[in-house]
Symmetry: C2
């Protein structure tokens, strides 16, 4: 439902105001997604399942006039009860508090927090999940979800120390994947390992000091790949309880970004485990 | 050589002033590196080769008092003719124009632009090089260099449309790798392919539409992996002249970050090509 808006003070778009300030304060169970690519992804999900990604819900769009003209077909395909507020670019920048280059903002309400055990139970006998522990950087979190989506991981589990995958920047960096891959929080790494063991998931802990070389790993049917923070990595007590896996690197530069590491691992698990 | 500085107006540290403004204006052949990890990397290179990375030169350091105390051993290991200006954190923030959380800045002079052909000639009979075309995002450029260093690529070739690997943020994201992996610019992709062919480098062009699956690629002895911009990717005329390689992805989410893609490819080439 297209709704023309001509003033930044229009109360109907108050929820889009001061994007950056609200990033800091938090949106509770709300989230903000940006850009055409992400909106297309969510529209595909809505067409198929009724939900914008993994059970989330879109509540309103704010779109620049130029983008609304360009994306008329996409907007027409959206549910009619989803308001798409269309504003001149200047009004849009005024509302958000900074120039919105992409001209597409979407506000939504996230699925209630999931139970990690239930999430694992819903996966099939062959499944890959990602576990991210202590990931506090939204770029890395977004990158991890992007890889999880690209390589068909069934879920992402994160600990309490990790940042919010539905933070605006994390959604953007994930190209929407943090909205489409279901995730759940666990209390800590110990609880995670108990949960995985109880459901027959082999835990592979990535570490530069890992005992096995990634390229030699034959993927177990149900497998979880664990990633820790850059720098310190996964704690020693976790490494002691898991199969530890290393990615061989140059002697004088053994440093990979954690999201890149995740991509390398998921690619290996997908390819080495593939049934042609 | 430790030099105490007590005022942001001290002319000896004028080159460190207004870091962000100078990012925009450019530093000519100068570069600015940040953080302890990068400084340690450059110090190791200087101890071994006299140069800070791939032929670059450090000219001066600006370090907060707290970091200077903590890194006394590292500073003592540096050449005595390299001035390390030590300032209280407040003075340091005042000079740079923003709070320098890491408290370590290094100014340097880059090696004169290299000739791509000469760079390839200097590599051995088994070598991997990365070619990045149209990479305009400094995070991606930094990530590509970090992967190149981690997996021992011999060089990075970039086209004129790509951004500067020695831009401050690119150095930071690369964790210093853009200073240690030698690179050269080529005019365009056509010139790159000619250059590679003349030196016996097989060109593998990464593309979602690639004919070969990455996991099936047996690494040629001399090989160049080509990466294009996210979104459009490598141009069709380049794909027509190269072996095209795909990374299989989920049907509804075929989107990987270009630096992550680079990491996946370099890991495969290193592992599939290894001689145990």
């Amino acid at each position: 439902m297209i709704v023309a808006v001509t003033s930044a003070d229009d109360v109907r778009i108050a929820a889009f105001r001061d994007v950056r300030e609200r990033d800091l304060v938090g949106r509770g169970s709300g989230f903000m997604a940006e850009g055409e690519v992400v909106l297309r992804l969510l529209a595909r999900h809505m067409a198929r399942t009724g939900a914008a990604g993994a059970g989330h819900r879109l509540e309103a769009l704010l779109i620049s006039q130029r983008q609304a003209d360009r994306l008329a077909g996409l907007l027409a395909s959206l549910p009619d009860d989803l308001p798409a507020y269309v504003a001149p670019q200047a009004v849009m920048d005024d509302i958000s508090g900074f120039p919105i280059h992409r001209g597409v903002l979407a506000l939504g309400r996230s699925h209630p927090a999931r139970d990690a055990g239930a999430l694992l139970d819903a996966l099939g006998p062959r499944a890959v999940v990602v576990a991210a522990l202590g990931i506090t950087n939204h770029d890395n979190m977004g990158g991890i979800f992007r890889n999880a989506a690209a390589f068909g991981a069934g879920a992402v589990l994160i600990d309490r120390a990790s940042c919010d995958p539905l933070y605006r920047k994390a959604i953007r960096v994930s190209v929407g994947a943090s909205l489409t891959v279901p995730f759940a929080r666990v209390a800590d790494a110990g609880a995670l390992l108990d949960l995985l063991a109880a459901r027959g998931f082999a835990a592979l802990a990535l570490s530069p000091s890992g005992a096995e070389r990634l390229a030699d790993v034959v993927p177990p049917a149900r497998v979880a790949a664990l990633f820790g923070t850059e720098g310190p990595g996964l704690p020693a007590d976790i490494l002691a309880r898991t199969r530890t896996v290393a990615i061989p690197m140059a002697r004088d530069f053994d440093s990979l970004n954690v999201a890149t590491t995740c991509g390398i691992v998921l690619h290996h698990l997908a390819q080495a485990g593939r049934v042609d």
